[in-house]
Subunit: 244 residues, 2 copies
């Protein structure tokens, strides 16, 4: 892990960009922490870190104010990272289906999401290795948001992640429902009830599939990107409850 | 409204029992309030105030600590209030169906709930008249919990109620779905996901039916009576957001 830039954004949060095996990432830490702090991995949709930066830094600032470090890495095939042909094909198929108003087939969803999960999850685990070796990062570790299938796989395979906040707002391959049954850590699942691009029933089925003894579904209005401020606050309290 | 007893329970909450047209009720106010406070009407299942008292006083204490007055009245046909034959018959039919493991018919649900709503709602409105005439009660007013159909009807017909926290844990007559479409105030709906005595799909359909621009569904584990403490805290924050 190599730090490539650092800056104190304000009195609350300190930002460092890094690369890890050529994957770009960002680490935010509380500007005033004196002891090692818990860590929240910030997931995001595959639109590129640069485009997602404003929303990520807002989440990072809120988390830093509550005493958490946060970190994120670029997803495979996003930002400046190399594309792979099958994913490009799947994205093109998805666009075509949506523009034609057709249902998005299981084949498209599988091609879009499954390789992304397979590639991304080991990278997030490697990032976790590197982040937890820093003296200012203690633990425990949570995972928050982004592509829900990545969150599910991480919750299953990565024992250092003790709680996850998931956003039920993206396509979920059927195979992930089986993995969801293996999830037992506390979950906080956000669903935008009136998210037209999202299959509400699939999101409810997925919530039902999780085996976690503590799981909460918070459904709100406001559309895909209109998560209310109070819903973000509730997710923050979930992490405070489980990581502090 | 006649007060029949009063006592300071502790440093937090002051309790007064009252009767209003022979209906028993309880009013709890913050022990240390200096100005008129907002009011939350505490709904409850039709099991009698005496039996519900421990849970009600716990909700009243939490609300008083946050600066709210709370009040409740006995439901028609509960506690020492006179039964009416049709309700007794409906309760017996319900018991029989549940003991036989049979589905509870629409007829039973209608007979059980609709007359209760028709009788109870004007009584809660009369209680509201009396409570708001007290100098220590200001407003705004919220309604919380209990028989969800009573909450729905109150949200439709009583403009002084500006926010409602509803518990999706009881039978809902089909006719109430139409009334739900007329609800436009902010709603916080609690659903116990693994509540075996409750029809989850009906609860989700009901949530969908509400026309409120702000509505949140919080689904948690723990069974019908096992609402987690953090879910109660979230409901309290909903009222703080809307009544303060």
């Amino acid at each position: 892990m190599q730090f490539t830039s650092e800056q104190r954004l304000d009195d609350v949060v300190y930002e460092r960009e890094f690369t890890l095996d050529e994957i770009p990432g960002i680490l935010w830490t509380p500007a005033s922490a004196s002891a090692p702090v818990p860590l929240i991995l910030l997931g995001h949709p595959p639109l590129g870190l640069r485009r997602m930066y404003p929303r990520l830094v807002a989440r990072a600032r809120q988390s830093a104010a509550e005493g958490f470090a946060t970190a994120t890495i670029e997803l495979p095939g996003s930002g400046d990272r190399p594309r792979w042909p099958a994913a490009e094909q799947a994205r093109a198929d998805l666009r075509r289906a949506m523009e034609a108003g057709e249902p998005v087939s299981d084949e498209i969803v599988d091609a879009l999401i499954l390789p992304l999960v397979d590639k991304a999850v080991p990278e997030w685990q490697a990032a976790l290795d590197a982040l937890l070796s820093l003296p200012e990062i203690g633990g425990p570790v949570g995972y928050s948001g982004g592509v829900i299938s990545i969150g599910i796989r991480l919750a299953v395979v990565e024992p250092r992640i003790v709680a996850a906040g998931l956003f039920a707002g993206s396509f979920v391959p059927r195979a992930m429902f089986e993995e969801a049954r293996q999830v037992t850590i506390p979950l906080h699942v956000l669903l935008q009830w009136d998210d037209e691009g999202n299959d509400r029933q699939a999101a409810l089925d997925l919530f039902d599939a999780f085996s976690s003894e503590e799981k909460s579904l918070h459904a709100n209005m406001g559309g895909h990107t209109g998560v209310p401020q109070f819903a973000g606050d509730a997710a923050a309290r979930f992490f405070t409850r489980h990581l502090k």
